[in-house]
Amino acid sequence: MRTRGYIEKFMEENKCITIKNLNLYYGDNHALKNINMDIFKNKITAFIGPSGCGKSTLLRCLNRMNDLIETCRIEGNIEVEGFASQIYDKSIDVNALRKSVGMVFQKPNVFPMSIFDNIAFGPRTHGIKKKPELQAIVEDSLTKAGIWNEVKDNLKKSALALSGGQQQRICIARALAVQPEILLMDEPTSALDPISTGIIEDLCDQLKKNYSIVIVTHNMQQALRIADRTAFFLLGEMIEESKTVDLFNRPQTEQCERYITGKFG
């Protein structure tokens, strides 16, 4: 008991997001039910669960992307490291929040512009105008996303000319270019082939040295491969959350066990 307390305390100092009593409604649809959880620094946290259980919804709460949905109503608190009050507070600048909590989407959504402009879009948004500075950021982000060598000779080319896997890495680089602390990824590999998937998984593993990552995945092998912690959701509730190995080897709840052994629809 005593040790456990210490560990908790230690962990607490390493938290980057704390979610408290979060409830979310799409109109009458109660999509998230009283979620309480922490996301840890420099760790990869995976969200798993059957389709429609609210994984994406929760992820989108963390950088307030749900603000864009008109029917969406949110109760509860989310605290993000570096922000003085909880993120749904009026004093919070949404754009600053989204700058420090980056997001990568399921479908690669590179803008129809050159590779360079795609990466530079974020920094330019946040006031960087000088070409050398931008160039440094672009090179740095592309390198971190592991695609610099593939594209360095044609940065002026349209990003749409790249393959799906490359586009997704451009999206990651684009997210990194605004220097976020946290990276949210919603099924980033579901539209990709196994090789591109492998590259992106390796990338996540490298990135967690400097970033905290939350990833939604339908692929349980993927969660096992890369995630340090995993949270299992069902029908808008978070059923179970723990270290990935524990969750997969010794699930505490029957629902979770049935899901990971494939007995759920």
């Binding site: 992307m65 989204r98 997001m103 971190k144 220097q179």
Partner: protein, 635 residues
């Protein structure tokens, strides 16, 4: 570490100041866009108020009953009874719509089913050319070809001007719209329906006419209603062939007047109560266009609804509906009839099984072959008219075309269209300078800044649609009085330009908004997720992707401005040879054509028409190519 945090200190330092700036510019941008949006509402309101303000007292002076049901229109004795022109408008519109819709729908069916595939593209292109021909060109074609034809072949004792000539011209004018909308509707019907019918042993014409056409009837109906609006509002072409006698229409060859021709013909010389009686006539026209537009929107909403239902509910796919209806037929004819009531778009069961059992099958098949022939005839008529217009104009015009005619100095004996070319260019400049920024801003506000579920946006869209449906002569009347007399500008390029700007504004808003709405949400999300503001997301990510839509809208607006003549007759005057001057009267390409035609200078009219048609065709082709190019670049 050192490479990882490039530029971070800079970012942090600039943050707060930049955020405040950003908030302020964001708010400014939003307000600017909002004002532009309100402008279109304001324009509509102005036109309505102005019509009512000047027209209603006139009606009261004349007496409502006398105005609506009086048959005399005589300014010296101050008698203004609109009935003959009102009936004239309805008569001509009805006749033209029946003919135009018949020709148009059959042509569309021909193109959809019976035309060899490799000819479809060119024919559609040709029909687009027909759609782009300015109404004043239809007018001279009517005046110089159709009227003499009627005179020589049908009734030697009448002049040739009148109801028949006007209806024929109008029906050709509305056919292209009917064709393109109907063709779209037919194309949107799933192939499975057609194949299902064939699988039951129907012939190709039978399948097309019994299954596909009924399924597309919503779209076809919408096209017809739209064309009624176009026909009732058409001014110049009708005015040039209608004859202009203020008489109750009785015979087909009779020379009568329509409301639009009455306004365009008399407004310039009218004053006092006379002018106000014309404004009251404008109110009537406006009311008609409102009603027609309302019906059109209702039909379209229904059609949209049906198709959205279809795509949303997967288990109600057309294939399954078909399958259902097929299984019903096995059970018996009576039940099949019932199911037809529930799903009117699929009446396979009734048609085929009843046919086979009652052995009328053969006679029915012949009926469908006749319909097939009719559809070929419809397409034939359309193409023959297009060809004869083009050939006639070119043949007449080429001999008068010369360097001097195009670019030389104007004189009465040796006229040139240089002033008209410059005038049209100047009008394009003025009207687009006003309409394009306002239109784009309004569209951006409506699609990006307004809640998609709000009531207000519904009303805004409705007012834009309404503005778009107002006949151009009503715009002309509005500009004539507001700029010409209230502002005291008389005929002027500025007044004409502003009036044209208001006229093309709704089209620009609509096309731009469509382009913006078609930009996938994932791009907006991608930009927001990087911390970009609303304004930056909108103008750097969304608007560039809608560029092709915006460009198309601008080019279409240019086409409308150069083709327009009714509005200009009332706002620009018609002073051949006058070079453009902001506050002075002048001429334009379309006006010059009208002028030459009324001065019996047929060669010059046709030559100017040749130039105008070429210009419009080039512009339309350019628009299509450009849109293709841009959309390829972004996709």
């Amino acid at each position: 570490m050192s490479t990882m945090r490039v530029g971070e200190t800079g970012l942090a330092l600039r943050d707060t100041k930049r955020q405040n700036m950003q908030k302020m510019t964001g708010a400014t941008i939003k307000w600017t866009l909002f004002v532009a949006t309100i402008f279109s509402l304001f324009a509509l309101l102005m036109i309505v108020l102005f019509l009512l303000y000047r027209g209603i007292p006139a009606m009261a002076d004349i007496g409502f009953f006398k105005f609506l049901f009086g048959t005399t229109w005589d300014s010296p004795s101050s008698q203004y009874g609109i009935l003959p022109a009102l009936l004239g408008s309805l008569y001509v519109t009805a006749l033209a719509t029946v003919m135009g819709v018949a020709i148009g729908v059959f042509s569309a069916i021909f193109l959809h089913r019976f035309c060899k595939k490799r000819f479809v593209g060119p024919i559609v292109q040709a029909i687009n050319i027909l759609a782009g021909i300015p109404s004043v060109v239809f007018g001279i074609f009517g005046l110089l070809v159709v009227v003499p034809f009627i005179q020589n072949n049908l009734s030697p004792d009448v002049e040739g001007h009148g109801i028949l000539a006007a209806s024929i011209i109008l029906s050709i004018m509305i056919a292209p719209t009917v064709i393109s909308i109907s063709l779209n509707a037919l194309k949107s019907i799933p192939k499975e329906l057609f194949e299902g019918a064939l699988a039951l042993g129907a012939s190709i014409p039978q399948a097309e006419f019994c299954v596909v056409v009924p399924a597309a009837k919503g779209g076809i109906l919408a096209a017809s209603v739209l064309s009624i609006g176009r026909a009732i509002g058409e001014t110049m072409a009708v005015m040039m062939v209608i004859g202009g006698d203020h008489e109750i229409p009785k015979g087909l060859m009779q020379s009568i007047n329509t409301m639009t021709a009455l306004i365009a013909g008399e407004a310039r010389e009218a004053g006092g109560l006379w002018l106000e009686a014309l404004i009251a006539t404008g109110i009537l026209l406006f009311v008609f266009s409102l009603v027609i537009n309302f019906v059109f929107m209702r039909i379209r909403a229904k059609v949209d609804y049906r198709f959205s239902m279809r795509s949303k509910k997967k288990n109600r796919s057309p294939m399954e509906t078909l399958a259902k209806s097929l299984s019903v037929t096995v059970l018996g004819v009576g039940k099949a009839m019932d199911s037809d009531h529930a799903k009117p778009s699929v009446d396979l069961s009734k048609l085929f099984f009843v046919d086979h059992e009652t052995k009328k099958s053969n006679r029915k098949k012949i009926k469908f072959d006749v319909l097939k022939v009719l559809s070929c005839v419809g397409a034939g008529i359309t193409l023959v008219f297009l060809a004869s217009i083009l050939v006639f104009i070119a043949k007449q015009g080429v001999s008068s075309l010369s360097w001097h005619f195009l670019f030389g100095e104007y004189s009465v004996d040796n006229p040139s269209i240089k002033p008209a070319l410059l005038g049209s260019a100047y009008l394009i400049l003025i009207s687009l300078l006003i309409a394009v920024p306002i239109g784009i801003a309004a569209a951006v506000y409506m699609s990006e800044y307004m809640s998609r579920r709000s009531k207000f946006i519904k009303y805004l869209r409705m007012s834009v649609e309404t503005l778009a449906s107002i006949p151009s002569i009503v715009y002309g009347l509005f500009g004539y009085i507001l700029f010409g007399s209230i502002f005291g500008w008389g005929y002027s390029f500025l007044g004409a330009g502003i009036t044209l700007a208001i006229m093309v504004l709704p089209g620009i808003i609509r096309t731009t908004e469509e382009g913006l709405l078609s930009v996938h949400n994932m791009y907006r999300e991608g930009s927001f997720a990087l911390g970009a503001s609303k304004a930056r997301t909108t103008f750097r990510v969304v608007v560039p992707q809608a560029a092709s839509g915006i460009l198309t809208s601008v080019i279409l607006a240019i086409g409308r401005v150069v083709s327009e003549s009714a509005v200009l007759l009332l706002t620009l005057g018609l002073v051949p040879g006058a070079l453009p001057d902001t506050m002075g009267p002048g001429t334009s390409m379309a006006l010059d054509i009208f002028y030459f035609a009324t001065q019996n200078k047929e060669g010059q009219a046709a030559a100017a028409a040749t130039v105008l048609i070429l210009f419009v065709v080039v512009i339309n082709l350019g628009a299509t190519q450009l849109a293709k190019l841009l959309s390829r670049k972004t996709k």
